[in-house]
C-alpha cells in the first residue's frame, strides 16, 4: 500500500514535470516563428541560418557564382567535419561552377532550382527544402544546404562523411567459433550489416527520430510476415510516444520502452553482434538500432534468451546442450551458492557431511565475524575489484586484479580474517557470474536478497525466496510474450534447456513469431551414407513390384 502511494506520488510529480517541459517548448516556438519562412535575398537567408545555429564557428558558408559569365549567385552551407570534402567538391562545386547553359535564356528562381537539382548536381540524394529550419537540420545531420539568390527554397544534398570506427571484434561478446564482426557507432553501417545477413525483401527498416535536443536517428528492423504485428506496433508506439531531451545510447530507449522497470530482470535484450541480431530477427523479434552505439536492442526478450549464445547454434547439438545446462547451473550457483553456504553453516549443520563439517569448523575457528558478514564483505570486495578492473587502463587493471584476487584473498585467510571455505564459495560465485553475462545484474541483486533471507531464516527462507523469484518471473511479460516461456511450461522446448539439432527445429518460437512460422518446409533428417540409402531404395522398389 505504502509503495503504491509512493509510486502514485512519483507519477504525479513526473506529470508535473512533463507539463513544465511542454511550456518551455511552446515558448521556444513562440520566440522564433519568423525563422522558417525564406526570403528572396540570399544574404537574409544566410544570416537567418547563422542565427539558427547560434553563430557557431564550425558552420561554413561558401558563396559561389556560376552560369554564363558568372552572374548567378549561390551559397553552400555545411558544418565542417560532418561532410566529406571529396563528395562536396565532386557532387556540388565542380558540376555547378562548370555548368554552361546551351540556350541564351536560362531559367531563374524556382525553375533554376529544379534544373540544379535534376541536371547539374552529381548526387544520389538531393531534396528540396522550403523552410530554413529544414535546411538547418539538414546541415546538422551532415548534409550540405545549397541556396540560390532570388529563390525561396533551398536544396539539401547528402554529403555525410565523418570519421568513424571501422568494423571490429566486439569486446563484450567474444566467440571461439562464428563471425567476429561487431556493430559500430554508425547507424547505416549497422543496418547494412544486418541486411547483409538477411538478403530478403521482407526485412523492413523503419526510420524514426527521437530526442528533442539530440535528434537521434533510430531504425526499427523486423521481418514483416514473421514478426508479430502487435509487437511491432507496440514498439513503434512506445518509441513514437517518447518526448525526451536526449537519447545517447540504446540503454535510454530500453529504459523507456521496457515492460517492467522495477524488476531485476531486463525485458529488452541487446547484442553487439550482427549474427545474433539476425538470428533473433529470424525468430520474429524486432530490433531497434540506435545511432551512436554499437548495442542493438531486440524485443521481445525471454528469460531463456540469456542462456542461448550464438555458439550454441554453430557447434554440434550435444556439446551445445551440455554447455547450456552448465550455464543454467552457473546462474543457479551465482545466485544461490552464498545463500546456501550461509544457510548450511549457520542453521543446518546436520546436512553437511561430518568430515566436511569438521574442516569448515576448523577453518572458522579463529574468524571473528559471523558467516553472513564474512561472505557479504568478500562479495563486496569482489564487486569493488571487478569494477576497478573494468575502469582502470588495461595494464594497470591486470595488476589490480592480481593484487586483489591472489594477495588479498590469501592474506585475509592466513591472517584469520575470513575462513578459506568462504573464499572458495565467493570465488565460485564470482566466476559463475560470468557464464551468463546478460543476467549478471539480476544475479548480483538476487544474490544479496537470498543471502539476507538465508541469514535470517535459513533454507526455508531461501526456498521461499526461490518461489518468489519463480512467481515474479512467471508474472513478467515482454511486449505481451510471457517472459519465462520455454522454461517451466511446455512451449518451444526444442531450444530451451537443451538445444535440439537444427534440422529438428521446424517451427519458429510459437509465442514470438506470427504468420510464416515454419523455418523449414518439412523435417529433413541428415543424409545417410549412400550405400545404405541405395539398399533401402532398392528394397522399396522391390516391395512395389
Amino acid at each position: 500500500m505504502f509503495l503504491r502511494f509512493i509510486i502514485r506520488k512519483l507519477r504525479f510529480l513526473s506529470k508535473n514535470r512533463h507539463s513544465v517541459c511542454d511550456n518551455t517548448t511552446e515558448s521556444n516556438n513562440n520566440e522564433q516563428p519568423h525563422v522558417s519562412t525564406m526570403k528572396k535575398q540570399i544574404h537574409e537567408n544566410l544570416d537567418c541560418l547563422k542565427d539558427m545555429l547560434s553563430g557557431s564557428n564550425d558552420l561554413k558558408i561558401h558563396p559561389f557564382r556560376f552560369g554564363p559569365d558568372p552572374q548567378l549567385a549561390g551559397a553552400m552551407v555545411f558544418i565542417d567535419g560532418l561532410v566529406d570534402n571529396a563528395t562536396l567538391t565532386e557532387a556540388i562545386l565542380r558540376p555547378v561552377t562548370g555548368w554552361q547553359p546551351d540556350k541564351k535564356t536560362f531559367p531563374t528562381g524556382q525553375e533554376l532550382m529544379d534544373v540544379l537539382a535534376q541536371e547539374i548536381l552529381c548526387s544520389g540524394d538531393v531534396r528540396t527544402a522550403s523552410s530554413l529550419s529544414e535546411l538547418a537540420s539538414g546541415c546538422l545531420a551532415g548534409d550540405t544546404a545549397v541556396l540560390l539568390d532570388g529563390c525561396t527554397a533551398g536544396l539539401v544534398v547528402s554529403t555525410k562523411g565523418w570519421d568513424k570506427r571501422s568494423v571490429s571484434e566486439p569486446q563484450s561478446e567474444t566467440v571461439v567459433r562464428g563471425p567476429r564482426e561487431g556493430f559500430t557507432e554508425n547507424l547505416r553501417t549497422n543496418t547494412a550489416m544486418i541486411r547483409r545477413k538477411i538478403k530478403n525483401g521482407q526485412l523492413c527498416v523503419t526510420n524514426m527520430t527521437v530526442g528533442r535536443k539530440t535528434q537521434t536517428d533510430i531504425c526499427l528492423i523486423y521481418l514483416s510476415g514473421v514478426a508479430d504485428p502487435k509487437v511491432v506496433e507496440t514498439v513503434k508506439y512506445r518509441i513514437g510516444r517518447l518526448d525526451v531531451d536526449s537519447i545517447l545510447e540504446s540503454g535510454y530507449i530500453e529504459e523507456y520502452i521496457e515492460d517492467a522497470p522495477f524488476s531485476p530482470f531486463a525485458t529488452v535484450g541487446y547484442s553487439e553482434k550482427p549474427d545474433v541480431v539476425a538470428g533473433r530477427l529470424l525468430e520474429g523479434r524486432v530490433a531497434v538500432v540506435v545511432d551512436g552505439t554499437p548495442f542493438v536492442l531486440t524485443a521481445p526478450m525471454l528469460f531463456i534468451e540469456s542462456f542461448q549464445t550464438t555458439e550454441d547454434y554453430y557447434t554440434r547439438p550435444l556439446y551445445a546442450s551440455m554447455m547450456r545446462i552448465i550455464r543454467f547451473f552457473g546462474y543457479f550457483i551465482t545466485v544461490f551458492a552464498p545463500a546456501i553456504f550461509i544457510a548450511l553453516t549457520a542453521f543446518h549443520q546436520e546436512l553437511i557431511p561430518t568430515t566436511l563439517l569438521f574442516t569448515i569448523a576448523n577453518s572458522r575457528e579463529g574468524t571473528p565475524f559471523p558467516v553472513f558478514l564474512e561472505t557479504f564483505v568478500m562479495l563486496f570486495a569482489f564487486e569493488i575489484l571487478r569494477e576497478a578492473g573494468i575502469r582502470l587502463p588495461r595494464p594497470v587493471g591486470q595488476a589490480i586484479s592480481i593484487v586483489g584476487a591472489l594477495i588479498m584473498g590469501d592474506a585475509a585467510v592466513s591472517a584469520g580474517l575470513v575462513g578459506a571455505p568462504v573464499v572458495i564459495v565467493v570465488a565460485i560465485t564470482a566466476v559463475a557470474s560470468f557464464l551468463v553475462p546478460n543476467q549478471s545484474d539480476s544475479a548480483s541483486l538476487l544474490r544479496v536478497i537470498m543471502m539476507v533471507l538465508a541469514a535470517f531464516v535459513g533454507f526455508y527462507g531461501v526456498s521461499m525466496g526461490f518461489l518468489a523469484v519463480l512467481l515474479h518471473l512467471g508474472s513478467l511479460t515482454s511486449f505481451g510474450v510471457p517472459y519465462f516461456d520455454g522454461f517451466a511450461w511446455m512451449s518451444n522446448l526444442q531450444d530451451s534447456v537443451v538445444r535440439m539439432p537444427l534440422w529438428s527445429m521446424i517451427r519458429r518460437p510459437k509465442d514470438i513469431a506470427h504468420g510464416d512460422i515454419t523455418r523449414r518446409r518439412f523435417f529433413i533428417p541428415p543424409m545417410r551414407p549412400y550405400t545404405l540409402q541405395d539398399e533401402d531404395d532398392l528394397e522399396g522398389e522391390g516391395e512395389h513390384e
Binding site: 542453521f347 535470517f456 531464516v457 527462507g461 512467481l471 512467471g474
Partner: protein, 366 residues
Amino acid sequence: MRIDKGQISGTQFMFSVACFIQASAPLTTFISAVTLQDSWLVLLFGAVLCLPLIWLYRTLMVMFPEQNLLQILVEVYGPVVGKVIGVAYIWFFFTLASLNLTDLGKFTKLTIMQETPNVVLVLMCVLVSALAVRNGIKLVTKYSTLFTIITFILLSIGTILMLNQIKLENFMPMFDQPVGKYVQGIHIISTIPFGELVVFLMIHPYVKLSRRDATKYLFLGFGLGVITILVILLLNIGVLGNLLGMFTLPTLVTLRLVNLGMALSRMEILFAVILVMLLFFKITLLYYVSVLATAQLFKVKAYRQLALAAGALLIAYGLTLYPSLVEQAASAQEIVPFLWTPFEILIPLLTFFIAKLRKLPNAKEA
C-alpha cells in the same frame, strides 16, 4: 461477473488437481495413524469410492460452465439462502488455507528450523503467496506442472534409493483391524485430500473445457495425485512397518534411512523440498479461492486489495486454531472429516439434485 480475467489451459488444470492432491501426500499421518499397514488398501478403496464424488463435481462443472460455486449456489438456492451457504463455504476455504499454512509452519519448525518462531515462517509463506494471488489465477496455477513433475522425479529418486530397505512382511497382517477403523480411514481419505477438490468448482470458469476434456483432465489429475500418495504410503509402510504409528512425519524418517555408501545420505532434504513446494501451491490456491470468493460475495471488483488483509487474517486464524500439533492430528482423525462432509459431499449433492429438479441451466438457455 468475472473478477479475474485470466485463462488457464486444460493441462494446467489437470496438473493443478494433481498438485493439490499431492500436497497431502507428505503428511500421511492422518490416515496411516488410523489404519497402519493397511493404509494403502484404504487409500485404494477410498479413491474408488471417491470416483462418483469426482463425477459429481465434474457434472456441476459441465452444468454450469460459466459460473463458479458461489454463483451456482445463488442460482440454485436463491439469493438469500445461496449467500448464507456461500459464507459458510468461504469459512471452509479460509479454514482449509489456515490449516495448511499451520501445517507448513509447524512441520518446517519441526524438521529444519527448530528455533525460529512460527509466525516468521508463516508470514514469509503468506507474503510470497500474496504475490501470486495478486497476479491472478494464471500465475497461481502456472507452476503446477513444474511442481508435479519435480515431485515425481524426486519421489522416484527416493523410491529407487529405498528399494533395498522395503520388507514385504511389513505389509503382512492384512485386514487385521476392526471394521470401524477401515470405515473411519476411508472417510478420512475421502474428505481430507480428495473431497477438498470441491475448491476447483471455484476456478473451473477460468478453464476453457469441453465436456469430454473436463472429464479427462479432472480424472487424470485425480489419478496422478492418488498414485503419488499411494507410492509414498507403500514406501513408508514397507520401510517402517510397525513403527509407522510412532512418527509425526513418517516420510521424513523413511528418507532419512537412505544411506548409499558414503555418497548419498541425508535425503530428507528431498522431503523438505517437496513439502514446502506442494504445500505452498495448495496454500496459494486456497488463499486465492477464499480471496476471490470474499470479493465476489461483497461484489468488490478489486480483489487484489483484499489479498494482504486476507493474508493477515489467515495467519492470525491459523495461529489460534490449534494449541499443539498433537491436537491438530487428533482433530484431523476424528473431527475434521465430519465437519467437512457437508461441504464436500452433502451440499454439492443437494445442489445437483435441486438443479436437476428445477432444470436450471436449461431454463436459462431457453
